[in-house]
Symmetry: C2
Subunit: 210 residues, 2 copies
DNA sequence: GTCGATTTGTTCGTATGTATC
DNA sequence: TGATACATACGAACAAATCGA
């Protein structure tokens, strides 16, 4: 199992700059339309070359975070883009945002589960190695999702789940049942029971994000 | 209503290069791990500077499309990333891929609808201006989604829907009912009827993508 | 294990086109 | 109209990492 957190051993300038700009916008709470310092100034402030600044701006531009106009300047566009790559996420995300990501991830997990039930893949008894609930849950979702025709549900789950785990959001959710309970309900095709379990997860997140 | 397709009048080098690289990988059908020509060679081939090539590589790297190692080279990583920004999508996407995007978008639309019913926002009678079914549907989803606490469902819808419309995927779906039917079912909180309608959309896409 | 070639990482200087006042 | 500010783009140079002989 490769560690998906470890992006690379040597951090690169443009990644640092990208994080720095995101961090700057977040801490200064800059809204859409605010003009950023010119590239030359940014490169001075951060102590890097303009090229590195430009590479960072490009990425944030493509993510809808910034917008730059020749001759005009670089402006904040959407300070809260959807699905920021993990590398860019700065150290802290507030709970409200994390909750929204969580709900989005869970929607896809639910879809994977319900599609798997309908497909009736004659699933062998599931052996989940992980003892941690969420690690095990994610492993299970990966097993189910990889058998679906549409792999985007799983891709979205996997693009959000590691971030939530990294930020510690999942640790604070208390769950009144075990992964085994969930697997049993799945094997019995007990949709009602499954719905109850999953909706409890959402509610747990709601109470946690206060 | 601003045109979200027209990003800017003058296309920029790094965008062209990004598209060119994606196109190259797709037409050559390069799989994960394949090494790309070195940056200097690419800049020669495309007739642009190395800086522009690098900016394009950065973006594709951040999207998980490429991976570059100092001293090693640049390699294809995931030739089919999830949620490619519209600007990068080259002219053609095959129907199977479009169908997966469509299902993902519809999942979020369904969530928006079901959450809106539960919230009971005392919705006024919905006036949808658009005569085209999908334009009207999207407008309706935007009205509902913008009232939700979690705006990510709507963001994902809006990040996929324009692409599907642009690629003409939605035109080929034939729908046996009107938007008015859907709105009436919504106002009556007739979940069963709504489920029937939406599942028909999925099936229509399935038969279309053969 | 060393050396040299290859390739990306990073910086700097310069020229050009565009926007703003 | 003109002047200034700014992004766009190119090319050269060197550093650092990788890889193979």
């Amino acid at each position: 199992m490769e560690n998906i957190y470890q992006i690379r051993s040597v951090p690169r300038m443009f990644e640092e700059v990208t994080r720095a700009i995101v961090n700057y916008i977040q801490t200064e709470n800059l809204k859409k339309g605010v003009k950023l310092p010119p590239e030359r100034k940014l490169s001075e402030l951060l102590g890097v070359s303009r090229s590195s600044v430009r590479e960072a701006i490009r990425i944030l531009e493509m993510l809808g975070y910034l917008e730059s106009k020749q001759g005009g300047g670089t402006f904040v566009s959407q300070p809260e883009p959807f699905l920021i790559p993990v590398q860019i996420v700065s150290q802290y995300m507030d709970k409200q945002t994390l909750k929204k990501y969580f709900e989005m991830a869970l929607l896809n997990a639910e879809k994977i589960i319900s599609l798997s039930i309908e497909l009736d893949h004659a699933e062998p008894i599931l052996q989940i190695r992980n003892t941690d609930f969420w690690e095990g849950f994610s492993e299970w979702i990966n097993v189910l999702g990889s058998q679906l025709e549409n792999d985007y549900y799983l891709k979205l789950w996997n693009s959000i789940f590691p971030m939530l785990a990294k930020q510690g959001f999942l640790d604070e959710l208390n769950i009144g049942w075990t992964l085994q309970d969930l697997l049993i309900a799945f094997q019995n095709k007990n949709k009602k029971q499954l719905d109850t379990f999953l909706s409890q997860l959402i509610k747990g997140a709601a109470s946690s994000a206060d």
